[in-house]
Symmetry: C2
Subunit: 496 residues, 2 copies
């Protein structure tokens, strides 16, 4: 009981420190003046040092490891929490201080190096840093001394319970089923009647439409807000404060709409986590993959459905009468689901998106199984791109250098993006047994859908692992065929 | 040297903690969702406890009191800093912990009690709390054990060096010179040709005009930003991050304009403090009074001058052609300087404003000299109002209950508001010997004025006391006659 008290006191303190740092982060990403950067970095470094010291302090280690020893006597949820915390703590304390410091310096440096390399389209500028980043990760995995293959350690970091075995099955399925289907849609698909993706739409009116969408999705404004930022994101500290951003591109109206709906999916999840987890370590969304399943469900399953636009296109037309005078609801719906073989992951459509992830998974998997080396990345990238989407990047900026993740030391992260959509399709299959989804969407009753999501998924926070949650909700283990079927049905109807 | 290092390390840490709390404060006052309040309070209480512990820790006390002992050997600026810090620390450590906690609880409670009393116009609801607040302050003053009269301790807290003797002279001068002058303007003044203070002006266009004003005043956008809040304020952590707010009332266009210009005065001051004070305890503005002198100088001396509107009224007319079709520049200028006997301090005009402060000063002075008791306040208030402005409040909400300050335990604060305008007039008199102010304002060259202010006042941060600064800039001690003369000249020309 003493140990538990000690643990809970430090946990509360860590939450408070992370909370204030997080508010500073929100500020810096949404409005802080540019010139304030150096001072902020100086001030934040004081706080983050304090957090690091506390999170690796003897007191905290004593509490966590002590409780871990006695975990069988703990309440099952506290047991689960302690196991997770212990796993994270192991990773922090097993890395020698000097490696930890050197690695963090390298990461800071590498992001600037990557930016520069991308800007000047010069792979060689980045190759050395990336090699070091990969080597540090390989080294750290050995420090952890886990009985797992290297890449599995990384995969599990971002999605608890996921392994190469599970992901291989997932991506093998997509490779076999989707690659030929995408080819067919691209070559034989019925073209758009009119392409409005490049028409100009006033930013202020886009904002007005996004404000409208907030209410359509029944988002709780008393516990959140929408703002603008260069890269849309969701920010939360607690179910009572969940904010998100979108961005307004006058030349691409779908950007603000689908970024807003996507982030609303994340935000609604966080708002609906049961408050009973607040002060525990089981608060927040279950995992990155489950989180992404909720945002993709909102964005693609609801937001890009015909039922949705049957109801909300009139409002859009009302705001943009001139721009949409020659565009029927059907045209608009097909534009929102435009399929294209393209180079940039973040701009990819729903159907081709998983191809982009497959490339990254294949590369990371080979890299951490020592089948390829960093030098091989550009060639492998371009070859895979050709294989999956039939196109070849004209330069590295639109190829292997496009994403920030690797420069930040994030390996094992990408696959969760594809996983999210696959989880979403599996959840959808179950949901349809309980709800007439199309009818609810058409009637504008997203509240009923939110209730289902809260009841089945959101409320549980992190008290279940992602794969447990999936099993509990859908009654079966992860099955990528729901995703394949969902995509084939939708895009056959749209294009073939 | 060891002590100095110890002091500087804790100082840096305290700055970082206050910085993050301050960002959370900015967030909560400008955008945080309402429902986030309880969680924020919980998280902030952890940080503020840490700040309190550190700021009263044995380590910090050893450093500060140790350095104070050896202050004659310190560099003169460090000596000054340590003297100020020691004075503040004395006050914190001399109050017994239980009194400190009880007082803070009382303050939290009293603000809600005051709000309720004001809303229901019921003085009796608030009287008990106010009595306790006054008693605690009287008690604390005795703990400090200073060789000063009670009210002087409070006055010095808010404006270093100011005493009843100096304030009495100030307010006696105003009473003798201004009260009859105000009466004359109110009874004999030439009325406005047209009153536009109640016309409707679109909020978005008001915002556009305020954005224009930001550039007129040459505010540094790379180190600041403007936002909206219910109560306009300036927020700063450092010269590289100085923000401010205004508010848009469609039924009173002068609110956004003069709040923006007022806050720009505060913000420009903070932006122009020399960076060399950043990491010391002498950063930021010199005092509340000096700060207010800069905001009032911007707002009243520049912003409400004829020269200013000769140049900028065309821009205003361009934004509001219909609303201003029948309004000449002269009409607009006189509207911006409309004089009225009114009840509410924060809505008072430049000329009658000091009368409102006199009432509060008289009351506080008598209260802390034990000449009156809290029970007497409503009567004294109404009598003074009648005496200074010739009007009597119809209820306590527009009388003795109108301000939040006393409910927050702030006694001795009000006089600095009037002091600011008087300092400004004295600075103005000196500035006019160096610059042709009207000409610069008319030519839109506020930069030259900012340079003068930086050179003479802003750069020094808190390295001088307010009265030293005034003496250094103007070559003489505080002299309220500059203020009286400034007001008489301006309002004689406008009204008589």
């Amino acid at each position: 009981m003493e140990l538990l008290k000690q643990y809970e006191a430090i946990r509360h303190k860590l939450k408070a420190y992370r909370y204030v740092m997080s508010v500073v982060g929100w500020d810096s990403q949404t409005e802080a003046p540019k010139g304030a950067f150096p001072r902020r970095a100086d001030m934040l470094s004081v706080i983050s040092q304090d957090v690091f010291q506390l999170a690796t302090s003897k007191e905290y280690q004593d509490a966590v490891y002590g409780l871990y020893e006695q975990r069988e006597e703990l309440d099952p949820l506290m047991k689960r929490e302690i196991e997770r915390v212990k796993k994270g703590l192991d990773k922090q304390v097993k890395i020698p201080q000097e490696d930890y410091v050197a690695y963090n310096k390298l990461i800071n440096l590498s992001q600037r190096v990557w930016e520069d390399a991308k800007e000047s389209d010069d792979w060689n500028k980045f190759q050395g840093n990336l090699k070091q980043l990969v080597d540090y990760n390989r080294k750290f995995i050995r420090y952890y001394d886990l009985d797992m293959e290297d890449y599995n350690v990384l995969l599990d970091d971002f999605e608890e319970g996921m392994t190469m075995e599970l992901y291989d099955h997932f991506f093998d399925t997509l490779r076999a089923e989707l690659v030929p289907f995408v080819r067919k849609v691209l070559s034989e698909g019925k073209p758009l009647n009119k392409d409005i993706t490049t028409r100009l739409f006033d930013a202020k009116k886009q904002q007005e439409f996004c404000e409208y969408l907030i209410d359509v999705f029944a988002y709780d404004r008393n516990h959140g807000l929408m703002k603008e930022s260069v890269h849309p994101f969701t920010w939360n500290t607690h179910p009572t404060d969940v904010r998100f951003t979108t961005r307004y591109l006058e030349g691409y109206v779908f950007s603000s709409i689908f970024a807003a709906i996507h982030e609303l999916g994340h935000a609604t999840y966080e708002q609906q986590v049961d408050e009973k987890w607040n002060d525990t370590g089981l608060n927040g969304g279950a995992s990155m993959g489950i989180h992404e399943s909720q945002s993709r469900f909102y964005e693609n399953v609801i937001g890009r459905s015909k039922a949705f636009w049957e109801t909300h296109y009139p409002k859009f037309q009302q705001l943009f009468p001139d721009e949409t005078a020659d565009i029927s609801m059907e045209d608009f719906y097909r534009n929102a689901n435009k399929v294209e073989a393209s180079f940039i992951r973040v701009e990819a459509d729903e159907l081709t998106y998983p191809m982009h992830i497959m490339i990254r998974y294949d590369i990371e998997r080979m890299l951490f199984s020592n089948e390829i080396e960093v030098e091989d990345l550009p060639d492998v990238w371009n070859t895979k791109m050709k294989e999956y989407l039939g196109i070849e990047p004209r330069n590295h900026a639109e190829g292997v250098l496009q994403d920030v993740h690797w420069s930040a030391g994030l390996f094992g992260y990408f696959p969760t993006y594809a996983l999210g959509s696959a989880y979403a399709a599996q959840f959808l299959h179950t949901m349809k047994q309980d709800l007439d989804l199309d009818d609810l969407v058409q009637r504008g009753d997203i509240k009923a859908i939110n209730s289902w999501l809260k009841d089945k998924i959101h409320q549980f926070g992190r008290s279940k692992t992602p794969l447990e949650l999936l099993q509990d909700v859908t009654g079966e283990p992860f099955n990528p065929m729901y995703y394949v079927q969902y995509l084939k049905d939708k895009y056959t109807e749209l294009y073939l």
